[in-house]
Symmetry: C2
Subunit: 773 residues, 2 copies
Amino acid sequence: MSIATKSKYSPGILSLLPIFYVTWSDSVLSPSEIKIIRKRIQDLDFLTFSDKRQLVKWLNPAQPPSPEEFKEWIQELKKHAPEFDENEKLGLSEMGLKIAQSSIGYRQDEVWKSPKTQQALQEIEEALGIRSEISKTLLETKLQPGKSTSEISNKGSFDTTKMQAILDGEHGELINRVKKLLRDPAFSYEILRDKADQRKRVSEQVQYLADQGASTYAFPEKYGGKGAVAKSIAVFEAVSYHDQSLLIKFGVQFGLFGGAIYGLGTERHFEKYLNDMMTFKLPGCFAMTETGHGSNVRDLETTATYNHSTGLITVHSPVYDAGKEYIGNAMDSRMAAVFAQLIVNGKNEGVHALMVPLRDRHHNLLPGVKVLDCGYKMGLNGVDNGRIWFDQVTIPKENLLNKYGDIDEDGNYISPIENPAKRFFTMLGALVAGRVSVGIAGNTGAKSALSIAVKYALKRRQFSANDNEKETLIMDYPSHQKRLIPRIAKTYALNFALHNLQALYAKQYGTGEMREVETLAAGLKSYATWHCTDTVQEAREACGGKGYLQENRLTDLKADTDIFTTFEGDNTVLLQLVAKSLMSEFRDNFNDGGYMAIIRFLADRFSTSLTELNPITIRNTNAEHLLDKDFHISAFNYRVNKLTITVGQRMRNYLKRRITPYQAYLRCQIHMQEMAEAYVEKVILDSFYATIERTDDEGCRAALTKLCQLFALNTIQDHKGWYLENDYMTGSKTKALRRVVNKLIQELRPEVLNLVTAFNIPDELLGAKIVES
Amino acid sequence: MSIATKSKYSPGILSLLPIFYVTWSDSVLSPSEIKIIRKRIQDLDFLTFSDKRQLVKWLNPAQPPSPEEFKEWIQELKKHAPEFDENEKLGLSEMGLKIAQSSIGYRQDEVWKSPKTQQALQEIEEALGIRSEISKTLLETKLQPGKSTSEISNKGSFDTTKMQAILDGEHGELINRVKKLLRDPAFSYEILRDKADQRKRVSEQVQYLADQGASTYAFPEKYGGKGAVAKSIAVFEAVSYHDQSLLIKFGVQFGLFGGAIYGLGTERHFEKYLNDMMTFKLPGCFAMTETGHGSNVRDLETTATYNHSTGLITVHSPVYDAGKEYIGNAMDSRMAAVFAQLIVNGKNEGVHALMVPLRDRHHNLLPGVKVLDCGYKMGLNGVDNGRIWFDQVTIPKENLLNKYGDIDEDGNYISPIENPAKRFFTMLGALVAGRVSVGIAGNTGAKSALSIAVKYALKRRQFSANDNEKETLIMDYPSHQKRLIPRIAKTYALNFALHNLQALYAKQYGTGEMREVETLAAGLKSYATWHCTDTVQEAREACGGKGYLQENRLTDLKADTDIFTTFEGDNTVLLQLVAKSLMSEFRDNFNDGGYMAIIRFLADRFSTSLTELNPITIRNTNAEHLLDKDFHISAFNYRVNKLTITVGQRMRNYLKRRITPYQAYLRCQIHMQEMAEAYVEKVILDSFYATIERTDDEGCRAALTKLCQLFALNTIQDHKGWYLENDYMTGSKTKALRRVVNKLIQELRPEVLNLVTAFNIPDELLGAKIVES
């Protein structure tokens, strides 16, 4: 060791390099890790001031070491590899010390040999929980993925890591990075009953996520963002595996509030607000919903009246019910994006958004602003929902988010979109990202619930054939399988449809052509969140009394996700939206023309009848036929088309009988809802088959095929009354179908553990004591 | 006023008689009223010691003034009627004073004229909230029932008071008396997040109910009870309109713990425990469920081993999972009714119940007893659930609840029931009351949820046909009607079936012949509690964000009632019970013979085929036919019979193929569940029609008929796939059926307010701010 191995790094940095390398090797440095290292580094007297500065810089999660830098570390470490004996077992601190010593060679200072130095390094290693004897092979091999839960006789037939990658999709690496971060103790579950405590903890966690730069994906690099909108949804997906209060507060701040600024504002707003919004320095809220108007945004009552003589806009809640209701982040916010009727020159130009300051630096409410806490809710008590009223609050004209509507220098209203209805719907486009995200979060809720219920069902036994036999695993009861396995299939199905939607959203984002995404987002959000409510409920019941204990998470999952069917658009209303969109290829036209337009359109389109039904097909009970993709696709398509035609016919008949279009619409409401649901199911099935098409791995492909078949046939079975009624199938066929469904469930039984393992929800995120490994 | 009107009461008592009369006139004296009066009385210096003693005696809700006494009061008051001017408006205190003065005539003391006396009386009147000028007509007329919510254009066609009486059934008066009591501020809702606070409040409330004697109905008069078992369930029904934590803690103490003592014990236990149990002096619990065994009670692992040399029984939890789990009242209890395997002379005689002391007078745990808190649950956090382990705890032999199994003086096991299986099921009979009660409570949960959702839907407007029109009431959307109205119909249907079950239970109670009640209780409990879960969920969503706020009750209703589908028997397991019972008329035989017995029985019974289906009937789409009772009854019966036959056939086929009976049973499990459900639906329909038969009031009868038709057709529609598959109907018929269902919903729309008003849930019990009148 007399000849120094030259290095670009100082000995101090080298001494810590192995620790930094391992800590960063999974691309995540969690808040607790940062805290530990930062604190200890300050106390190390063998580090120079510039060593410390460099090391602290490497601790910034928002600006992690670049790939180049990281490569340099590896090269540096590898350079020293020959110095170690192949069989020598050293810890990271010993290794660091050796490297440091080697780099300075004969110039060695006593400090590098002192046991005190050694101990200080070792303490860091221990505090981080990475103290273990490791050989130098560390420098050559990659970390293995974590062990998967293994249960006897539940081995399954596919590789869960590969399946996980298929489920996670193109943003898998990011999702897993964020999940890793969330395993940090800073994010651990605590049962906090008081909302003040829960809110405090969630606020801190939002701040940690912001510190890690998790908030920046949707925004341009120019303002400190990452310009990757699809990734911002992937981050949301990752957080949705964890506490929903954190998810929603995170989503309100960076998705809704941030989204309003960036989606509805212009340069002047980006400059002024985006960075502070992203770092959570400027907590804000999205003040759209009012007590009197939730779904019906167009009729909001808050006014924003422009006065040209002062250049100010007055924001005002004219009546009690015009108060903004249920506003997330309201108690913490300093600023609100307020949706109000913009009045210029005495004319109502429709709903626009404005930046309205709520509180000063000391968190005191500003004059004219009144905010009340919404109090306790079923769940999400970590989110501070409030109600806000404005009493003649004035703001500068510049605070109008003016991308789609502005006031010019002469005090006149101007807009790039002439048609007011089109303008309104374009502005509402800001809500689409929220719907895509909540849909995904709903499906994650189902994943979490199913992971808990399946793992529990593989432990729990009850009743036996006779006294000499072991009790039966509850997973082995057909009734239990029927509860869980078809829901697993639906969750897989939705996973792919939602990721497709996410990709489509990213593609159409900013193009102004969002119609398809809007329709799909509305439909999939409804379907996924109802699926979530249903699945969490079923999982709770499937876990019996254990499922009712808060320590087993299902109670919080239930309470927190329950509102998903309501917020970001009430599901029933959203399905109407889907239906209306389906009935008109000329949406703009429709928005102006009202119900008459739908009718005219339908009358044109559906004058031809459906293809004749094949008398052989409707009787075919062959299992091969029943499992066939073509049969599934045809059956799903038939349902959408038939329902659309019959809605059209009914509408036309009502109008002929001189019933008003609105009344005709009301009468067809349930029918339309069914049609919308059928459409969503068709979309899901198509995207499931598309995913299977591009799956190379044999094992995964086979399992996915079975899941897809089960999803298809179970859905057809749910609607079998309709299919029979419409002579699409005979009774013998639907009976055969039931047998095939039961067979698929049986065949998937040995795969259940693998199927939920592939959801890859670590214990820390799942948060259920009954199934902790 | 110079001639005294002679009286048997002293002037002091007379001065308070009008107040006592009014306070007691609704047969309820609530804890707050008692507190107020008792406190004030002590301060009144014009009362003698014996006056005070008498008055305090009249304040005991457990021993209210007898009807004779009450009649005497009325006579006394009437005697003084001539002394009052017809038009003179006096308060109760003035009236009391006048009567007191009159009774002593010329002997008048100054105290009866002093303004101080007058003020003291008046203060009592005010504190009770009954201060108002009333004329002497008070003495002649009865109180009118409370005003009902009135809404324009929702008048409906029937008398809600009459409908209420039909719904309440034979115990209506008692139900309403308890409801009245629960309106007292002592029972008012408070949002308490900490379980310690919530438990404390609930414990106090249980004590109030006990003080009122609400706990005594199920027990013999000899021990301070009322000997009216059906009424004990009526009390439970009344409490179920209120907080579910209170309900469950009340039910655990007086229903389960008290029920175990009275149902499984003998004279020696009644003498020793019943009175203290009823007064809540002896808080106790029902320790059956174990961590390892919930549904499978027969395989409980706790042991109770008799040692003849000491005459003691040792209670022991041999393994961790033998700990008693989820035991309500565990933290407050001094005594537990513990279910354990009784071992006598080394032989396991099966599960028996024993009285095991848990804590001493100072609430310290006794040696060998370990109790842990279950912690927070989804709901019912006012109930102190705990886990209990026994480490070689010895109790005297006398503590064995020995009605069905005892140890004689020679140390030998003896039992009046020789067959061990029959003995076990007889003992489990103790659970039946619980299932009847929880079924009723489940339906009440649905009533509360529907009351909130309907009243909100009659206030809330959203969206309009165009800008000039008022927004549409959400109750007027067909999709909203479809959410709520069929569920109202089902709730009515269940109401009558559950009351029939309650009456049958009371009839069979103690006869030893409980089979029918057990089957019905298992089936209706499942059906009603799933209906509750489903309806509360739908109501929450129907109220949007408002439904998610804790102040609007639905959140607590959801959280609290959610476990109803699990406790007192998991619903899925209970349906299996129903199915097994249906398949065997020889239940005892079946319990011994196992699955083979079922098969033999079925083979005998179902060798004949069903009556041929009438080809005209299956095509009949006539509305009159579809609304006809015979059609409904036939369709429901056909479903039960067909499902039973096909289960039998499948079973026989499996056995022919040499599949083990247990495996055959597993394969038919889902099929059997469907059969059980069909049976429950048939029972409900039958009892609904029977109720209509005996309804005299035209208006109510008409409304009930529509509700029954809707329940019947909606249920058939839910199973239309099955009916079509089995060629019981053609597609044209099921389509016609859908139209009739929609028409019934429309026709019931103007009745909705009346329909929920008839549930008669006062604001204080409903506890939902959004719909407070």
